[in-house]
């Protein structure tokens, strides 16, 4: 079930009403959440109703870690959790590789990637293993299932840190008018981003250019790459906005995932603004776990860990050379920027330096998106050759496509404080009117977008 479809909003309306009817009673509230999680999972196929089994293992591992002092036993327990989650994470990707191109295979049953579930489950057991200050093994099984299988984030995040989220889930929820206003605004913005910008660009420009680049001029292919940068951002951040809004309507705050990433001055900053919950997860649970000698060889340790982390991060998206190259390019760029910053120690960039850095970073990121979205390395090379072909016709770029791209670029650059201001204004509107406005917006967008919602790009990773 897509978060951008009318059926999801009907489901959520029912779940929301039941949740707040039971809000005063923690057990009842959690029961509603569990039923909602189960229903959401079941819509992807009955196979996913086995997911609570995996979650139960992590819950038991958590209890075991809380009671175990011996390092061998603790390692064994963590090993169990790692094995379960890595199997869930990797099995669909390995099977996708083996069944590539075959139709009618039972891969059709795997309609939901479990990556985001696995990442957040691992935050629970790894934090307990490391004895992090905030990590406490919960004894409340239902609360654990409610948090680990929380439906708004299962498809594409943001990746929750389960210990912090459990505390929220166990506390009495609150929903003020301004929170509700912000939530509905986020959902509305998310739908516009997804259906009117991302899907439109995907259907009318990006898909065509990436599928058959030889039919387009260099300028058109370049526009297609810019279009993909916008499509991916609006698709993914649109999903995140809807998830954040849905969470907020349940009185739960989810972590932000994007902060105007294409305005980053360098690639390090880009990774602080793009898919934030994932880059922080990589840093805390993968990069920090790699063996390194930071004091003796700081630059070498940083370079090798960041390049390896980004390559593994790339392979998470899919076991292919294109994703490996994408990850390696970002890893090397992060190491180069670090060396550059080290050499310029203390020197601040000028205003022009910032503009140049922003343009260079954006184009580097676009260059890497070519590999990210290409069907093969050959396809990526083909796209690059077309861009370098010195052909400038733009007859295939229609006015609506150009208009949506310009609109998207402007929307990406709007000051973030405008969202806060708009939320305040929305909060002053009566709640019933907010809800009616959102319902109207859903219907309007569904009508305008015509063909319905394409799957979220990150839902397949």
């Amino acid at each position: 079930m897509q978060l951008s479809t009318p059926s999801f909003f009907v489901f959520f309306l029912v779940a929301w009403l039941a949740y707040w009817s039971a809000a005063k009673f923690r057990g009842a509230r959690l029961a509603v959440l569990l039923v909602a999680n189960g229903f959401f999972l079941a819509k992807f196929g009955p196979l996913y109703l086995l997911l609570p089994v995996a979650a139960s293992i992590d819950f038991l591992v958590g209890l075991g870690l809380a009671r175990s002092e011996g390092s061998a036993r603790r390692r064994l327990l963590l090993g169990v959790s790692l094995a379960v989650n890595l199997a869930l994470l990797l099995a669909p990707k390995v099977m996708a590789l083996r069944h590539a191109g075959r139709t009618g295979s039972w891969m059709a049953l795997l309609t939901l990637s479990l990556s985001f579930y696995c990442f957040q489950s691992l935050t629970y057991t790894i934090d307990l293993y490391r004895r992090d200050d905030d990590a406490v093994a919960t004894r409340n099984y239902w609360a654990y299932l409610g948090a680990a299988l929380f439906f708004p984030v299962l498809v594409a995040g943001p990746i929750l840190r389960l210990h912090g989220f459990l505390k929220q889930l166990l506390a009495p929820p609150t929903l003020s008018e301004s929170q509700a206003g912000r939530a509905l605004l986020l959902i509305g913005i998310g739908l516009i981003k997804k259906l009117l910008i991302a899907d439109f660009l995907g259907q009318n420009l990006v898909g065509r250019v990436f599928d058959t680049p030889t039919l387009y001029s260099g300028a058109e292919v370049l526009a297609g790459v810019y279009g993909y940068a916008l499509q991916l951002f609006f698709d993914f951040s649109g999903y995140t906005d809807i998830a954040l809004g849905v969470g907020l309507l349940l009185g739960l705050r989810l972590p932000e995932n994007f902060r105007q990433p294409y305005l980053s001055v360098n690639v390090m900053e880009f990774w602080r603004r793009w898919h934030i919950s994932f880059s922080e997860w990589l840093r805390d649970y993968l990069m920090d776990s790699l063996p390194q000698r930071r004091r003796e060889f700081p630059l070498l340790s940083y370079s090798y860990t960041v390049i390896l982390t980004m390559m593994l991060g790339g392979l998470w998206h899919g076991l292919s050379w294109t994703f490996l190259i994408w990850g390696a390019l970002h890893g090397v760029a992060l190491a180069v920027v670090r060396i550059w910053k080290q050499r310029r120690k203390g020197k601040k960039p000028t205003a022009w330096g910032k503009v140049a850095g922003t343009l260079a970073t954006f184009h580097f990121v676009c260059f890497t998106w070519i590999f990210f979205n290409a069907s093969s390395v050959g396809n990526a090379v083909e796209l690059l050759q077309r861009i370098g072909s010195n052909t400038w016709t733009v007859g295939n770029l229609t006015l609506p496509v150009v208009a949506v791209m310009v609109l998207g670029a402007v929307a990406h650059c709007l000051p973030l404080r405008w969202l806060d201001r708009s939320s305040e204004l929305m909060g002053r509107v009566p709640f019933w009117l907010q809800g009616a406005a959102l319902a109207g917006l859903v219907v309007l967008i569904q009508t305008l977008s015509g063909r319905g919602s394409a799957p979220f790009v990150y839902g397949s990773f």
Partner: protein, 78 residues
Amino acid sequence: MEKRPGIIKVLHSVADSDLTPGDDESLFTSGMLDSFALTDFVVGLEEEFSVKIPDSDMTARKFDTVRKIEEYLAGKGV
């Protein structure tokens, strides 16, 4: 012992920014620190507060905010 001034002093000596963060503001999200600068920051804290910080503690999670750093140092007897 008031630890905040010493923490800010070390932070300004290793960070690109000379801004003063709030107690609960993430030093990593704000860009004041990154995984690489963390090493210099931890070495600076060791010198400033005469404390030994093991490599296994050298993680963004433990040094993410001024408050967390204060609590960490308090746990070390500073």
